[in-house]
């Protein structure tokens, strides 16, 4: 599997993402925000950190970067796309996913390992988990508070599009939502960082590996 990770000006976790891809047996391809193609990758990860200073709103300017045009085009054709943290914010700004991420309740920056429940295994990125499985994933952000209008949240719940839910809501997100997917299940955005929970040399908690194994199984079943 050939996975691209986009570097925006201000991305922090692009190299962690590339490293996680290699650790999980994939070929990692670094994608530049100013480039207008994605070099034929099978999937794209939008990493965490910041982008363009996050002036205006988180992800608002990154959404209009040259590489995003091609990423959105490919995602609309079914290419797997994962947005982590700032990447999730970019996906919401690009309207690939509904809703928005605002300041955490209480204005606090959060940096914890947070317990989550996998609510949907019918996405490209979560099919390797068991329905209802509880996992612990690193979470670090100041603007991870998921908000959408009541109708949108109702629809997400009814269609099973809440992918992961906080067991101990750290930021005020509606319905404890930590991550969601699009209708097709190929685009997933979440605030926690699965790429930080894959490497046995730095952590005993490898709960993030399932995201990469899910992608691998999706890609191999497709061929």
């Amino acid at each position: 599997m050939k996975i691209g990770v986009v570097s925006f000006p201000g991305s922090l976790d692009d190299h962690d993402g590339l490293r996680a891809v290699r650790l999980m047996g994939g070929e990692a391809v670094s994608l530049w925000h100013g480039a207008d193609d994605v070099h034929g990758v099978d999937a794209v990860i939008l990493p965490g950190g910041f982008s363009y200073g996050d002036y205006l709103r988180c992800g608002a300017i990154a959404r209009f970067s040259p590489v995003m045009e091609e990423v959105v085009r490919q995602a609309n054709k079914g290419m797997p796309l994962l947005g982590i943290c700032n990447g999730f914010q970019v996906l919401c700004e690009a309207r690939l996913l509904p809703g928005a991420l605002i300041r955490n309740e209480g204005q606090k920056f959060t940096s914890v390992t947070t317990p989550l429940r996998v609510e949907s295994t019918s996405t490209v990125w979560t099919n390797a988990y068991a329905q209802g499985q509880e996992i612990n994933i690193v979470l670090k952000n100041g603007e991870g508070n998921y908000q959408a209008d009541a109708e949108t949240v109702k629809q997400l719940e009814a269609e099973g599009r809440v992918v992961v839910r906080y067991l101990d809501n750290p930021n005020g997100s509606m319905n404890d939502i930590a991550g969601i997917t699009n209708e097709r299940g190929n685009v997933v955005g979440l605030m926690p960082h699965p790429e930080h929970n894959v490497d046995p040399t730095i952590t005993t908690n490898l709960d993030g590996q399932g995201f990469f194994r899910s992608l691998e199984s999706f890609l191999s079943s497709r061929v």
């Binding site: 205006l56 919401c92 309740e105 204005q107 908000q147």
Partner: protein, 78 residues
């Protein structure tokens, strides 16, 4: 050079953590009975005349970029 202002505010039904923090600070300073919501103001210098066409263009990019209409409302003032 003419000035056009775009005000962006969080929608009434959306939680506003920044406004809430300011409201809390006011109460601690002894200012009772105030509830604050915090938004953004963009001052846009327009070269040439502010025509209806230019205003429509400003509305268009206010909606696309300056505001996220999922969580914010905006108004254009000329």
């Amino acid at each position: 050079m003419a000035l056009v202002v775009v005000n962006v505010m969080p929608k009434p039904e959306i939680l506003d953590p920044q406004g809430k923090a300011v409201t809390g600070a006011l109460a601690r300073m002894g200012h009772e009975g105030f509830s604050v919501r915090q938004g953004k103001r963009f001052e846009i210098d327009v070269t040439g005349e502010v025509t209806p066409g230019r205003l429509a263009e400003i509305s268009e990019f206010a909606e696309a970029l300056l505001a996220n209409t999922v969580i914010e409302d905006f108004e254009v003032i000329s």
